[in-house]
Symmetry: C2
Subunit: 315 residues, 2 copies
């Protein structure tokens, strides 16, 4: 047990040594959460500025971690950097990989990781779209690899999509769920691999129509955002789409809803837009992207608001 | 000024007499809010059980109205029923129509309403999909008609989509915005008519992919709902899709996001499902629609949670 976890009273249990491979925004945010949970974190990233960037990300995470009730004094006490991948994972209980979203890179990373890491280390990838089955083809023990796809920022958004590949050992999936649960996340296991997993697919479906409505001039980006936050966003924070439409069906529930509104829904689907992200569209969307505040201000306002919502729902 | 508004301290201002045409779930819920805001409400609905049903709906609305800080004692003091449409609208300041979603019915209702209502009465339709332009073809003064499309339940969800038709007088749109603002709603004016307006189009786009993922066996309905409430729902309650992706782009904002992720987004769009609501699909979706509690329990849990979120965001 290290000093930090003793001080914070948090028991990292079997997950004491975590190696974060790739310390971009996602990797560094994972590191912030692991550290606040009393784990010892080794970051492996060949980028020259990595230490500076990670410390900046840790500073950014502090208000949210504090609001979540986690200790943040001396957050980097149990943080070390080790550019050499093999040395970085040599004594890892868990490896959370956050490298570039390229299959060849992921394959190379994990084939090196599985040789250098302890035989029982849990091997996790944050990939937002690459299948475990495809990465695991490069592995001698494909059963060890599990996708643990977080939402940005991982210390704030509860969801982690947990997905095994065709050869993933079910026990590895269960261990991944245990790990994320110990972190206070909400891991959700998908029953099948599908490109982009669930949340990003849903998000991209809505965003396609959002772009269509802006391109058609029905609303501006800001107007559309206001419409979402004052209706479906508010609703989906407390009840997902199926439960919402189940209630929309009255006492007859979803079956009644589908009976009454199914045909209208199919008509609506046929009428949805299929915009392309060609140059004029990107130009139009980019030109409207003025949200009246700096990136830092907008981010911190969003994080504060989201913490309020999470606290309200926890009560 | 009537007793109720005097007692509640609410000034209905120029909107004292409101006629609710059609008292299904939406109409009766509107009535509950109008009454709580100190307005005098006349309900016109030929259904034989209308009085009983409306009183049941009022009872259901009371906890939410109270939580919103509105007075609910003697809520039905200024409520009357008048099945005869012409008599019901004869002294209306505002008419909020909630009849069946059929163009011929809407046309018939509004052509009778415009003849019988005072010349300066504000004429509003709750339609969720029919264009004002199409309804107004039946009117002598098409400039008067404005769509005021609420989300269910109207006393709880802030959004009202306000849409004028091709011939709608801009002053009527402004009056509709004033009316809904006075009610404490968040009216959002659309710049163009489009079938289904904005929120329902976005909702149906996401729901299509949600159905696809359940049909493909990637997740169950309940699992998908949990994924939404712990990620994109939570996010969209505080920042809409454009603002979210603006922040997802880092300091470069939405332009950087579109540059980096645009191609991947287009690939994702091509991969989204296009399920049909045929009999096997409806059967499968209906069979999964077990949410472990009665309609009333689920509804009341949703409303309580939503009020918590709204209060948290108001602070």
């Amino acid at each position: 047990m290290n000093d930090n976890s003793a001080a914070s009273g948090l028991a990292a249990g079997p997950w004491q040594n975590v190696t974060v491979v790739g310390a971009g925004v996602i990797g560094a945010s994972w590191a912030a959460l692991f550290l606040a949970k009393g784990m010892t974190v080794t970051i492996s990233d060949p980028a020259s500025e990595v230490e500076k960037q990670v410390h900046a990300q840790l500073d950014e995470a502090v208000p949210a971690l504090r609001a979540l009730g986690l200790p943040t004094d001396g957050l980097d006490r149990d943080l070390r950097f080790e550019a050499d991948l093999e040395r970085a994972v040599a004594s890892a209980d868990v490896v959370q990989e956050n490298g570039p979203e390229r299959l060849d890179v992921k394959r190379d990373l994990f084939s090196r990781i599985e040789r250098a890491a302890p035989a029982d280390a849990l091997l996790l990838s944050s990939t937002s779209g690459i299948r475990a089955t495809d990465i695991a083809e490069a592995l001698r023990q494909p059963g060890r690899l599990v996708i643990g796809h977080p939402f940005n920022p991982p210390y704030l958004v509860p969801l982690v999509e947990v997905v095994g590949g065709e050869q993933t050992d079910p026990a590895a999936v269960r261990r991944a769920v245990d790990f994320y649960t110990a972190l206070g996340k909400k891991p959700r296991v998908l029953r099948k691999e599908v490109p982009g997993f669930v949340a990003n697919r849903l998000q991209s479906a809505l965003f396609r129509e959002a772009i269509n409505l802006v391109v058609q001039g029905v609303v501006t980006e800001e107007e559309l955002d206001e419409i979402v936050t004052s209706s479906i966003g508010l609703r989906w924070a407390v009840a997902g789409p199926f439960r919402s439409f189940h209630l929309g069906g009255g006492p007859g529930g979803l079956p009644a809803f589908l009976q009454h509104f199914g045909p209208a829904l199919e008509t609506r689907w046929r009428d949805l837009g299929t915009p392309r992200l060609d140059e004029p569209t990107v130009k139009l969307l980019s030109a409207q992207a003025r949200f009246g505040a700096s990136f830092e201000e907008l981010q911190s306002a969003r994080d504060r608001a989201q913490l309020k919502v999470m606290r309200a729902l926890d009560e």
